[in-house]
Amino acid sequence: MDLQILLLLGQDGVTNGAIYALLALALVLVFAVTRVIFIPQGEFVAYGALTLAALQAGKVPGTVWLLLALGTTVALLDGVRLLREGRFRKLPPLLIFNVGIPLLCAGGLFVVPPTQLPLWAQVAVSMLLVVPLGPMIYRVAYQPLASASVLVLLIVSVAVHLALIGLGLLFFGAEGSRTPAFTEISFELAGAPLQGQTILVIVASALLIIGLYFFFERTLYGKALRATAMNRTGARLMGIPPALAGQLCFTLAAAIGAFSGILIAPITTIYYDSGFLIGLKGFVGAIIGGLASYPVAALGAALVGLLESYSSFYASAFKEVIVFTLIIPVLLWRSLTTKHVEEEE
């Protein structure tokens, strides 16, 4: 192995690691705020990428129908409650968010053929179609069980994951898709070719991570999320509704997922079930961070990316084994060094 191969592998590892890091952050965020181990995180990656690919192929992506169906369900659930409690003034915003906007999106897709839109608009439409699924899934699947044990929430996650995979196959078909590259530029770095797309992934991930930092440090909503993560009861006493916190963090998680998917769609072929494995590697990163520490989770995810890249060179048949075995020493170390705190019941 020479320096060039070393560099190329490192570059590959960092690119994948950047995506895993984003997902790891989303997983830590969701777990900290809602105690949900968010297995369907990866599905948002696949949904984001495949929705964009469907738009570029001139098809109406199936996510539109899911959005409409989920939106209507949420509107019905909440609408009935609001009517019973006589809070009529809250009805219009509820309807606009959950039914109006999806309808507008669906209508827009039929009026303006998506292939004619510029790339940035296609990306925006894909995000608009996929991101609202996050809070809607939270409302339908998790909110009624918000105070259940971590195990129950995990079981719900598995169910949501399986449902989304099945719907993904229905919407996008069994075969994968790839979107055209955002940029065709390529550089030479120490004799190794460097694709513009790779830089884009790393820069965009870094920007997103910085953005998240400022969101949590400087904005009221970010602080509310952090407060909920630290102490749910305390935050509630201070007037932060847990449902709002839950929906907000699911929105963020869905946005991060869909955005990661759109970023990697030009580099690799995405299938309806690709997301799970990508999410799982982000999860390994999140575990390294103990599902609590953002910087350690991001670093752990980057480590997963690098490890994956180098092990694919040395022992390609055992790549996944090596990556997932990483979790055992980490768990050992964590269980030896941290005092065990009994799960609240």
């Binding site: 191969i5 078909g173 580099i267 694919s312």
Partner: protein, 379 residues
């Protein structure tokens, strides 16, 4: 009186139902092999519903690419639907799982899986099993032949880290060794891997004259894309597992110039007029595209069609010996399938023998290359 009449009508109806031929089908229409199973399922719908004046019912179940579900399906079809013959399944593990149940109930089973172990080595069990897809060995010989014709001396392999990749590697290594081809690198990757840079760099460091990618469907595009990206200049070979249009769509200009062996129906229109498979291949392509749109046909559906072709030839003979729904009919059907001779199908010419339940020869494959986003026959 009325009661008696009803009973008589019912009895008449039930005998009529008994006389129908029931064909059980289990395909992998969901799960990892869905891209193979879906065209197969679509093809079953195109098969004739009357053969030799008898009504034929096709009962199609999905096994989700899961051997357990495949076993459950065949038990249900045999136990509840009293099928006379089974078609299925899409993948090798599923077909092997179904084999035991088929043998216990003495029901002929026509598999669409690729691997030769479904019908080889011939034993008491496999007597009941037939297979319409070309054996991997058929295809591997074509690749090795093409390589030696082009003076390739060293070759690298990258394939799926599962039964498909391993099977291909074994088959290819055996034939390559016999033909004095040197395998200089052998790498594996996962179907849904997002990057194969490491494996490709290792392959390129070994400087092979040609690379064989042992993958199926769209995931096989990634290694070729990475090879191009890293500046590999040698020949690139794919397996017949990629012969569908989704592969061309996903691969785009990155997969141009790849060589692969396919069943002749994939390029049926380009075959010379004297090719014996041209007519039967074109028939399937026309029928499928009429139902599902131009360019929708894939080679996998062809295997399901060929199962239908076998049945259309065998059922008239079996009907002479027994009534559908009886043990005698199933036995006669098995014997008729085994004695299939010179039967043109979409993928080749069937010549079954007691020892060969696949029945294809060299006419069942041609080499093609990818040119301007289309399959082009290599002369």
């Amino acid at each position: 009186m009325f009661k008696k009449l009803t009973l008589a009508v019912l009895a008449a109806l039930s005998t009529a139902a008994l006389a129908d031929i029931n064909v059980g089908v289990s395909v992998s229409a969901t799960g990892p092999a869905a891209s193979l199973g879906i065209p197969e399922k679509n093809t079953i719908a195109l098969l004739p519903t009357t053969i030799a004046g008898q009504k034929v019912n096709y009962i199609v179940l999905d096994d989700a690419t899961d051997p357990t579900a495949a076993t459950k399906n065949i038990r249900k079809l045999i136990g509840e639907n009293k099928v006379d013959v089974m078609i299925g399944s899409t993948t090798t593990p599923n077909s092997l799982a179904m084999m035991d149940v088929a043998v216990d109930s003495e029901t002929p089973l026509i598999s669409m899986a690729g691997s030769a172990i479904v019908v080889e080595p011939m034993d008491a069990k496999r007597q009941w099993v037939f297979k319409t897809a070309q054996n991997d060995a058929h295809m591997a010989t074509a690749i090795v032949q093409h390589m030696t014709d082009r003076k390739v001396q060293t070759v690298a392999f990258i394939g799926f880290a599962d039964a498909y990749g391993e099977g291909w590697y074994k088959e290819f290594a055996r034939i390559a060794e016999a033909r004095k081809l040197k395998i200089v690198a052998s790498e594996r990757y996962q179907r849904n891997d997002t990057s194969v840079t490491g494996q490709i760099l290792k392959i390129m460091a070994a400087k092979p004259d040609a690379v064989l990618i042992g993958g199926a469907g769209t995931p096989a595009a990634l290694p070729q894309k990475t090879l191009k990206e890293k500046g590999y200049k040698g020949l690139i070979y794919q397996t017949h597992g990629v012969a569908n249009n989704d592969f061309l769509r996903v691969g785009g200009k990155d997969v141009e110039g790849a060589f692969l062996p396919v069943g002749p129906m994939v390029v049926a229109a380009q075959l010379p007029a004297d090719n014996p498979v041209k007519k039967s291949g074109l028939e399937y392509v026309t029928r499928y595209e009429a139902a599902h749109g131009k360019g929708s046909v894939s080679s996998f559906g062809g295997h399901a069609w060929d199962a239908g072709v076998l049945l259309q030839a065998a059922i008239p003979q079996a009907l002479k010996k027994g009534q559908p729904g009886t043990k005698e009919f199933r036995k006669a059907l098995r014997d008729a399938l085994e004695s299939t001779k010179d039967l043109p199908a979409a993928h080749g010419i069937f010549n079954m023998t007691p020892n060969d339940h696949q029945g294809f020869d060299q006419r069942a494959r041609v080499m093609v290359t990818i040119e301007n986003g289309n399959w082009k026959l290599v002369k």
